[in-house]
């Protein structure tokens, strides 16, 4: 796979960022330190370059039906200026990806949607849309516009002030998951009240050509994917490709704790399988665990009972910068998911005490 770079790759390099490859993109993982970047977002504000996210625009007479039939939530309920979180599932109900869908201003008198799947999934999701459109005989235009957009996330309790410093004050009147267009540094951007940190915050889509001036207009510390990961783990948010993955960690929305994105009243790929699972129940469930002994839980570590019987496996974990405790996310047999239940995490062969914990780890 060819390595992809965000429009600001040179700017980040000049700022001394170390990088990591994620979803085929070379992205900043750390500017200063993960801990200070994490703390900036929890206590004040920070800005992330998330231009690795995918953008697919769906327009035309059947745009609502197409997006609705490919995602678990009810797209028909979205008004212009609204967005929601949803899963993209395959026929057996397994999550292919999770996404936020924005209803844009109507295009040529038809509803227009911006779908934002995860990094590196743009080609695949575009083809998924086009194949189903043709199969279903729908009239819709599907365009992969990932290269046209840079995306930044301004997150933290002081994010409204960071936005009003550069854009019209009205953007701070947006409610959660609402979006609008706003002028930033002389450029028309899409500004949404969304994020992946658990803090108040905004996500900004700006044309690639204007990325540098929009980024530079914000006066908050730059944060990398390292802090983005610790922040989302503290909230119990899923990471595509890690906490679920169609090949290596195949999970349904119910198992992954995002059943709230599933509207069984709508027709979508995977709906019947999910309706069955809704009736019969799940065997494993996504949970949080907190270490009661020193140690850092990590992806792939086994979770066992005191007799050593395996109860599940962790899919994410870190030392929480906010709590200073080891925290992990993963799947356990449902009968062992009561908050407070003691279990053990196997850390390099050593069994360490841990407890099931209500999500989020950090209450907001």
């Amino acid at each position: 796979m060819t390595q992809r770079h965000p429009p600001l790759a040179d700017v980040h390099a000049a700022a001394g960022a170390s990088t990591t490859t994620f979803g085929g993109w070379e992205m900043p993982v750390e500017f200063d330190s993960i801990r200070t970047e994490h703390t900036a977002v929890r206590e004040s504000v920070g800005i992330f370059d998330v231009s690795h996210m995918s953008e697919i625009e769906v327009t035309g007479p059947d745009s609502t039906e197409l997006t609705n039939r490919l995602t678990t939530n009810n797209v028909a309920a979205l008004a212009v200026g609204e967005a929601h979180y949803a899963c993209i599932t395959r026929e057996d109900g397994v999550i292919l990806d999770d996404t936020v869908i924005y209803r844009l201003t109507d295009h040529q008198d038809h509803p227009a949607y911006l779908v934002i799947p995860n990094a590196g999934h743009d080609t695949q999701f575009t083809e998924w849309c086009q194949t189903h459109r043709d199969e279903w005989g729908l009239e819709a235009h599907v365009a992969n516009t990932t290269a046209q957009w840079a995306m930044f996330a301004v997150q933290g309790p002081d994010s409204p002030q960071a936005l009003t410093a550069v854009a019209d004050e009205s953007v701070t009147e947006l409610a959660g998951f609402e979006h609008t267009t706003a002028d930033i540094a002389g450029v028309e951007c899409i500004v949404a009240r969304t994020g992946y940190t658990g803090e108040d915050g905004f996500e900004i889509l700006c044309p690639t050509k204007a990325a540098e001036s929009v980024w530079a207009s914000f006066e908050c510390p730059a944060c990398g994917l390292g802090a983005r990961d610790t922040l989302r783990i503290e909230m119990g948010y899923l990471l595509s490709g890690q906490d679920f993955d169609p090949e290596t960690q195949s999970r349904t929305p119910y198992e992954a704790g995002v059943g709230f994105t599933v509207d069984l009243e709508t027709e979508f790929v995977g709906r019947d399988a999910l309706a069955d699972q809704y009736e019969t129940g799940i065997n494993q469930q996504f949970v949080g665990i907190t270490m009661l002994e020193r140690g850092v839980p990590r992806e792939g570590y086994a979770v066992v009972d005191s007799d050593g019987h395996q109860l599940g496996e962790l899919t994410s974990g870190t030392m929480s910068p906010t709590l200073n405790e080891g925290i992990g996310l993963g799947y356990l047999e449902t009968e062992h998911t009561t908050p407070g239940e003691h279990l053990e995490v196997v850390v390099r062969g050593n069994h360490k005490q841990a407890a099931v914990t209500d999500l989020p780890f950090v209450s907001k």
Binding site: S33, R294, G295, V296, R298, M319, P321
Partner: protein
């Protein structure tokens, strides 16, 4: 960025340092290593009385983003462990050649000459 590499130590390519005392050497990781790791949050070390073996893993250092093995520059018996790191692993970041030391070892052989000199290690990380 230029990193401190004290002349009075010997180094492994894997970024551990050792002092060169004849009786009890002190072992830790370099400033370059802690910078690569980022915020150190956990250290797993052997106990006093354990044997460690040159160029074999003797422990683990974890930062927020990564888990790394620690390799022994010398063979010998562990005579002291820096317990402060269990509660303050960030000492490894703050003072890698001083308060962030990890073990003291009674070296079995005088094999320090085979390790990298400060000049050689500086060249490696340049």
């Amino acid at each position: 960025m230029s990193f401190d590499v004290p002349d009075d130590r010997r180094y492994l390519e894997s970024h551990e340092w050792t002092t060169t005392d004849a009786e009890a050497v002190r072992i830790g990781i370099t400033e370059f290593a802690q910078d690569e790791l980022g915020d150190v949050v956990f250290v797993e070390l052997p106990a006093v009385g354990d044997e460690i073996h040159a160029e074999e893993a003797f422990g683990v250092v974890e930062s927020i983003k990564a888990v790394s093995d620690l390799y022994a520059p010398v063979s010998g018996e562990v005579t002291a462990v820096n317990d402060a790191l269990f509660d303050q692993p960030e000492l490894v970041n703050d003072d890698p050649f001083g308060d962030g030391w990890m073990l003291e070892v009674d070296p079995r052989d005088d094999d320090l000459e085979s390790l990298l000199s400060a000049a050689e290690y500086r060249e490696q990380i340049a």
